[in-house]
Amino acid sequence: MMAALTALRGNRPLWAFGVLVVTWLAAILFAGGFDSVASVRYLVQTASFLGIVAVGQTLVVMMSGIDLSVSAVVGLSAVVCAQVAAGSGGTVAVLVALAVSALVGLVNAAGLIWLRLPPMVMTLATGTVISGALLIYTGGSPRSARIPLLDALANGSVAGIPLATILWLAITAVAVWLLHLSRLGRYAFALGTSEPASRASGVPVPVTTLAMYAACALLAGVAGLVLLGFTGTSSLTMGNPYQLLSIASVVLGGTSILGGRGHVLGTVAGALLLTLLTALLVAWNLGEGPRQVALGLLIIALLLVYARERRTT
């Protein structure tokens, strides 16, 4: 019993869900307007964009990596899709955008494996290069595009549940299997706790790294497409908020930024929590400045409550 309770207290992804429920209840009680079905639907739909990116980020963070290029990839995928759609039609455009996104992930991984760059440097650099490449590609003014498939995906719903949310949950289910049940996932966890020990145990470091970074970038690409469907326009900076927020979702979801500890499901709670907090602060009519201050303080407070790392000293 005691052991079970201790285990529960140490289960940080569960904490994330607990905090989410409490926050939601507080929002319903004190802010008003958070108890309607419509508001819930709107929240989960908004959270989907961030959530999809964050699930990808989780795969990489679990390997004790980090992907700072996700923001650029979100923009890349949307811009490329809009651009290609104008000439070749929606389906081709979607496929090209996804392929390009995954390619970025492979390049990231290649830099880590063969050039031995720290993940932060490599992904930062690819992100910068992509931003520049997009400027050249679009001449500075990206197109807008209405692609029926993406339009339906972003705005449609089944049985009252937004399609974007269903997509997010499906992606999460696959990610849970990949990270927590498959052999590849075991390798990722092992790599996340100790690279030398993993090498000396025969963990296929290149394959694991390539797969996880490609998956992360692919998901950022998916998010870009859904966003394109949602807004109907692409922009070079549309991914910017997701860089820091996706990492924040992962960590608030109870995954250790140092790798090797956490759960994909926690990230779902983390993304919902961040979206809810933002909505709550907007509902209180706070200005942009105070809103960010509050968000920053809330994140720090939550991290202090349950995301502390074990001290080595």
């Binding site: 299997w177 990949l178 049940l181 498959s182 052999r183 590849l184 075991r186 390798y187 966890f189 092992a190 706790t193 100790s194 030398p196 020990a197 993993s198 090498r199 000396a200 145990s201 025969g202 963990v203 296929p204 394959v207 694991t208 797969a211 090797g260 500890r261």
Partner: protein, 505 residues
């Protein structure tokens, strides 16, 4: 007057008693050894003395005064300095900066590097370390770094010097230097507490030996009153007669692994060796003569040249994955960084090398939890790994049990060649014996075993054949009646003499 009095001290962690009414004392001008198996409570006692922990009950008197609000800082200020097995150096700062780490002498607020080097030199001389005080500490070999730790302890001019497994990474010359320092300190009226698993060392340096077992003091003996067997009996509570398993008669067997001219970049000579099923081969010699590099090269962790044949066919061992696929297993000396995932569970550690069997087909296959549990349970039983549960993190295990995990994870793959670096470093006598017997058992099952060790007794007792290395080359091969501690030590040192002649020619 007694320098340190430990009086009926008890300590427990989370309801588990680790020290029960422990009493002993240290006189000025004395070397006291603390002896005991892993988990006997030696390190807890030392932590109480150095102020890292406070006792639950009992008193500690230092220079006659009971200590209150003891902390590492106060202990140091009171003249207690310690050297641990785990290095506390900053590898990137110079040797001189490390000698004065945290207590850099400054003039008008500024630290002058020339001044630092000049002050460090006599201290380095005292510990017998011939190194430029300006080189980064991380550039020195492990043994030399340990000596820098000792110099750092001396810089504080201690009245009580604690050596906690401080000699485990040192070769015989360096151990002599440490003992000389301890002896000098004793002559000047200082005191030394020493903890080591090398019983021979303890018997040669200490004046008295206090034996701990399961958190209690079994006895304190003067050196003249005791011997190796007596101490082991007190530590283990029983006789450990057959420390080493019997060696089978070696009839010639076709070798499984044949290596010729193996060389890592930077080494001048090539190494030839043959490993045969059923045989345990040792790599001996002074510390750092290339033994470690041979093992790492054979496991694909180190680029190398030369010819390697497995089963008579030439092969490349360019990466650990390739080596594993060809049936090579490796238990590294540094078990906390390479041997284990210390923050992962025993279960994860044991299963990691067997995932191919637990989830066949491709990397995108579900791992069978049931088969994983069976496998892990079987390994824990067979190796008698003492863990609270398979879910316990590996870092919570004792050193001996960690080593068992690092070894056990290879067994399901049934490797044909097993490489072990310092397989019993820092491990208690009981577990050492278990590991020796297990290695012999594995050899009898048809494995070829290659071991490096700085412990002469271990190599002689365990191995069928020992290759003596010096400066990257094998200078002698000892087997059968020739394999004695005297011959081994002689060859290790003679390698130096022989090399000297060569360079003169």
């Amino acid at each position: 007057m007694t320098l340190l009095n430990v009086e009926r001290v008890s300590k427990s962690f989370a309801g588990v008693t680790v020290l029960r009414e422990v009493s002993f004392d240290i006189q000025p001008g004395e070397v006291l050894a603390l002896v005991g198996e892993n988990g006997a409570g030696k390190s807890t006692v030392l932590s109480l003395i150095t102020g890292l922990l406070a006792p639950d009950s009992g008193t500690i008197r230092y220079a006659g005064e009971p200590v209150r609000a003891w902390s590492p800082h106060r202990a140091r200020a009171a003249g207690i300095a310690s050297v641990h097995q785990e290095l506390s150096l900053n590898p990137h700062q110079s040797v001189a900066q490390n000698v004065f780490l945290g207590a850099w002498p400054a003039r008008r607020g500024l630290v002058r590097h020339r001044d630092l080097a000049a002050r460090a030199r006599p201290l380095l001389e005292r510990v017998g370390l011939d190194a430029d005080p300006r080189t980064p500490a991380g550039r020195l070999p492990l043994g030399a770094q340990q000596l820098v730790e000792l110099a750092k302890a001396l810089a504080a001019d201690p009245r009580l010097l604690i050596l906690d497994e401080a000699t485990s990474a040192l070769d015989d010359d360096q151990v002599r230097a440490v003992f000389r320092v301890a002896g000098e300190l004793r002559e000047r009226g200082g005191s030394v507490v020493i903890v080591s698993h090398r019983m021979g060392e303890l018997l040669s340096i200490s004046d008295r030996l206090t034996v701990l077992k399961d958190g209690e003091v079994m006895a304190t003996r003067r050196r003249a009153e005791t011997d190796h067997d007596d101490l082991v009996r007190l530590m283990v509570g029983r006789e450990l007669s057959d420390m080493f398993p019997a060696k089978p008669d070696s009839s010639p067997v076709e070798p499984v692994l044949r290596v010729s001219g193996l060389a890592v970049p930077g080494s001048r000579a090539g190494v030839d060796l043959e490993l045969a099923p059923g045989r345990i081969v040792g790599l001996g010699g002074l510390q750092g003569q290339g033994q470690r590099e041979v093992l790492r090269a054979l496991f694909g962790l180190r680029p190398h040249g030369g010819r390697i044949e497995l089963d008579g066919r030439p092969c490349r061992l360019a990466s650990p994955r390739e080596a594993i696929r060809r049936g090579v297993g490796y238990v590294p000396e540094d078990r906390k960084t390479e041997g284990l995932h210390v923050v992962r569970s025993v279960r994860d550690n044991l299963a990691l090398t067997s995932l191919r069997t637990l989830a066949p087909a491709r990397a995108l296959t579900t791992v069978s939890r049931r088969r994983e549990s069976e496998l892990v349970g079987e390994l824990i039983r067979r190796m008698r790994i003492k863990a609270a549960s398979p879910a316990q993190e590996a870092r919570r295990l004792s050193g001996g049990n960690q080593q068992k995990v690092a070894l056990a994870k290879w067994l399901p793959n049934r490797p044909r060649v097993l490489l072990l670096a310092e397989p019993t470093r820092g491990i208690d006598v009981g577990t050492k014996r278990e590991i020796y017997h297990l290695l012999r058992e594995l050899a009898a099952e048809g494995m070829a075993v290659l071991v490096t060790s700085g412990d002469t007794m271990e190599l002689v007792g365990l191995c069928d054949e020992v290759l003596v290395m010096y400066e990257g080359a094998v200078v002698d091969r000892l087997a059968g009646a020739e394999l004695t501690e005297e011959r081994l030590v002689h060859a290790s040192v003679a390698g130096r003499a022989a090399a000297g002649e060569v360079s003169r020619a």
